[in-house]
Symmetry: C2
Subunit: 577 residues, 2 copies
């Protein structure tokens, strides 16, 4: 490959594009890798297409290395299979739906569990056909409420989705582990530093799932690690350790006037000032905060729900949504319509709305909470005695320093990450929905169990850009760089011809070359563009061409070296290993 | 590459699939290359994906060889650009449209002229940036009224679409010629025998266009060739040669009772029986048939139109649609609502509906036609004297033996073909719509002129299958076969192990291998499957393995040869050239 910048469709931007908030988006736009074509839809320009193809090639190679077989499904699919599994409804507004000219319902598929299940039903009949591991690298669609950050959250994107079919739970676990290792190899090759964390399965269903999160400050996901064990989880999936049971004698519930205490802080101040219950050591953690939300369940009426959490914590709406999926929740604020819910003074005792509480609100715990009357609170409100919960829910915020749920004495740290992959042990949800049975070894029917494994291919390009850039531009890992070497013709005294002839020689040696042969661009602009574009190494053919020298530059280390131009091919090929 | 049939997702079908009408569809289903996933939407199974990728690779390589640059656009696009060029309306029901969660209009793009034009507007500014030739290989959507014949006419399909931008008409013509030659090389490599014919531009717009039609009896297009010159055209685009002017004196129009002559045949019989005008040599060609159609123009009211053609020809509805595009027409039959149109007795004299006639109905020609009264016809109805036409239209059927419009004395032959490519000199329709101007050499703004060039990549797979099969199965050209060699393990006395080890050795030599290592399948079934799958050459490891021999088979010629198994790699690599 030899690309010439004199003819390449490339226009680097000096200014920061107004539309871009995060470094990867900004740099991919500025360096001419992508352009916005639609809300949440991007065009891959020639350099971007090369990077995307290289990322996809690594993903494909590692899938093929574990025996996965590549297929390709349509993106435009009929409603019926998704109706059978309820996902047509569960996904709600998150999927694009449309009607064809005859009025039949279609969707642009967000993932293909249904179709792979039907294919396997069509093409297999006996235990001899299993296990099966199939994948595709295909355009996916999601009608994101808030497409953002360029390729990080788009509405049309490239995914590698894979599906496994096994006859036993052990076989599924083994395939799951194999794909997990293949993903680790994939991301190692792509230069993506990542953490594998426990995750929530969401609308996909299934029992267990893990996410691969690429560490990044601009990531939408937060995840925890433990200071002393290997526990790691998406914040959405963090489980709150059960509280230590309290053995002390509990007083009777009593109600007190607490005027003008609609907030936890004002309530704690008043409780200490008045020495309620004879104490002056009240903290927010002693109070029970009750948050009213409206739950939106696709295909059903909205309903009210009250969430109880210790008053020193907020309700984390992402954790709440994860716990309620496929339903979602929004804060309720129409208190005028519900006089039974006294804003700022709600307590769980006698509440007429469905009530779910944080695991810390365990039976036997006592709380300072609202008395369901304006300006009044109650103390010694005991869970299981004065009120009962309709269930527990993991919706309270997770904080750095929280106790690790997996070990004794460890505490949690929190980081941000970009979800670059998600793997699921789905189980038999889909094979049951379609009643897939095959002949077992013993002659009896067996229902296969499934795994589902996704990598965001276009998102991975952005994640790599997030992890591999500096203030001057991008800095691609070798495995995904659009070219191996960037030759800059810095001068007009034969430098362009020399650069092109060096490029041709390198191409003959199998090196992928970009030559900046633009005749009307200054060396300074060319150097700036080269750093912005971020090819790992460059060769400057400049003034010393007359002496037979060129300069070899390493983008990452900044090292520069004068090298006889005839030696360049040897230097490059040895640098490429 | 080494694929093992014992694990490959492949199930060949013995029976003819009920859904398939044409050989390519039947064989691609039976041999396990594709499966239907939706109306007009197909899944590529592992072998099919390999063929599709190989076809795409040839298309890509030939585009890159002429300096075309690959990009990739979203398929889901906002309405506005397509509104600007009127295509949102012109395509009518032929495109899939949808709304996002906010109610904004989107379409699944059928082609991308608008987006490429906007991209070039964004990324260029001066004559130095031109010419530009860009392409993508991308999934396209059309809401076909009648998806049929598997991959030949689907609603979701893979296309290579390319767009050129030039500053002068000559430069456009040169690029057009270069792409045309690249397409000829592409189809030669793909083994597609084809004819390049003049075509109609349709909703795309533009001045000149040609189609590449792969000869096939199941093709939807018919095209003509000339027996004595190089003229070739899609039947839709055939121009009727102007008739030789008649110099004889013309009689006055006279009306005659012609009871019970609603058809041309009955009219001619009666005219001869009664010796109308003193003649008994009336033929259908002397009569003028007037066909009433309803014209459906996207975004407008339906309107009536009468088409006049010589009575020995039918109106060809495809030619009519091509002439009216983007409008379409259907036969009108509600004569009760229009008493002025006397069914079976319509004449153009005094007609109150828009009237377009075949070019043969030239000024000065005289006709036997309806008198606009039940049971009456008129003779000596002279065009230009007794009636005037609102225009001419190319809607009469084209017949083998018709006079060639391009030379003297040649006559037309008719064949069927599959449209595998269409190339257009679009001109400035799109750059005008978006007001694209760049700085010219002389400092003045220049408006670029465009070409657009499409290859149906998935359709090409089907076209290859149509041209390369026999009664036993498919027979792929080397360049696109899913593997180079198919090794059949015919026996259980070490044949499977020997076949696999031969396969491994061939893979090391860079040969792409499919091994039939299925342990529970008889040699007969394996041979049948091998012929169905259609890999160009196979090696049978059978009974003579004990003597160190295998059989080399050529699928195309049927030749078989016993070869020492140690010689097989040499035989294969020499066969592969």
């Amino acid at each position: 490959m030899l690309l010439r910048m004199s003819t390449l469709l490339l226009r680097t931007l000096r200014e920061e594009p107004a539309e871009a908030e995060v470094p990867s988006h900004r740099l991919l736009l500025r360096a001419g890798y992508i352009r916005r074509a639609a809300p949440g839809g991007y065009t891959w320009l020639p350099l971007g297409k090369l990077v995307l193809d290289r990322v996809a090639a690594v993903v494909r190679a590692e899938m093929e290395a574990i025996g996965a077989q590549e297929v390709s499904f349509p993106a435009l699919l009929p409603r019926e299979p998704y109706e059978t599994t309820n996902r047509w409804t569960d996904y709600g507004d998150d999927i694009f739906t449309l009607k064809d000219r005859r009025g039949a319902d279609y969707l642009l598929a967000p993932t293909h569990e249904e179709m792979f299940t039907l294919l396997v039903q069509d093409m297999t009949s006996s235990y001899r056909d299993f296990p099966l591991l199939l994948f595709q690298i295909q355009t996916k669609y999601r009608d994101e409420a808030r497409p953002r950050a360029g390729l990080l959250r788009g509405r049309e994107f490239l995914m590698k989705d894979a599906y496994s079919f096994s006859l036993t739970d052990d076989a599924l676990a083994a395939t799951y582990a194999e794909v997990r290792r293949a993903y680790q190899r994939t991301f190692a090759r792509l230069g993506l530093e990542h953490t594998i964390v426990s995750a929530v399965s969401g609308a996909m269903g299934g029992s267990a799932s893990e996410e691969f999160l690429a560490a990044s400050e601009v990531g939408e996901d937060t995840f925890v690690g433990c200071t002393s064990c290997s526990y790691a989880a998406n914040t959405e999936a963090v489980i709150t350790p059960a509280p230590v049971p309290v053995s002390r004698e509990l007083e009777h519930l009593s109600v007190h006037d607490t005027p003008d205490t609609p907030t936890i802080a004002s309530l704690v101040d008043l409780a200490n000032a008045r020495a309620l219950d004879g104490r002056a050591d009240w903290t927010a953690a002693d109070t029970l905060k009750n948050v009213v939300v409206t739950v939106h369940r696709p295909g059903a009426e909205d309903e009210l729900l009250v969430i109880g959490v210790p008053g020193d914590r907020e309700v984390d709406m992402k954790r709440l949504d994860a716990a309620l999926a496929p339903a979602t929740a929004t804060l309720f604020d129409d208190f005028a319509a519900r006089p039974d819910l006294v804003k700022g003074y709600i307590g769980p005792q006698g509440i007429k709305v469905r009530y779910l509480a944080d695991p810390r609100v365990a039976p036997g715990t006592a709380w300072l909470t609202g008395a369901n009357e304006p300006g009044r609170h109650a103390i010694n409100v005991v869970a299981g005695r004065d009120f009962t919960v309709d269930g527990t829910i993991e919706a309270a915020e997770v904080r750095a320093g929280d106790q690790c749920p997996a070990c004794d004495g460890g505490s949690l740290t929190i980081r941000r990450g970009i979800e670059i992959a998600h793997i699921f042990q789905l189980g038999r949800r889909y094979t049951e929905a379609f009643q897939v049975d095959v002949l077992g070894v013993d002659g009896k029917p067996v229902r296969p169990t499934m795994g589902s494994y996704g990598i965001g291919v276009s998102r991975a390009v952005a994640a790599i850009a997030e992890q591999h850039h500096d203030e001057r531009g991008l800095l691609w890992p070798d495995e995904v760089a659009p070219a191996d070497v960037h030759i800059v013709a810095a001068g007009k005294d034969g430098q362009i011809e020399a650069a092109l002839s060096l490029g041709a020689a390198l191409r003959e040696a199998g090196v992928r070359v970009l030559v900046d042969d633009r005749p009307n661009v200054s060396p300074g602009v060319k150097f700036t563009d080269a750093e912005l574009i971020g090819i790992p190494r460059s060769v400057v053919v400049g003034r010393r061409l007359a002496d037979g020298f060129a300069e070899f530059r390493d983008r990452r280390t900044g090292a520069r070296e004068e090298v006889p131009i005839t030696d360049i091919p040897r230097v490059i090929t040895s640098a490429l290993g």
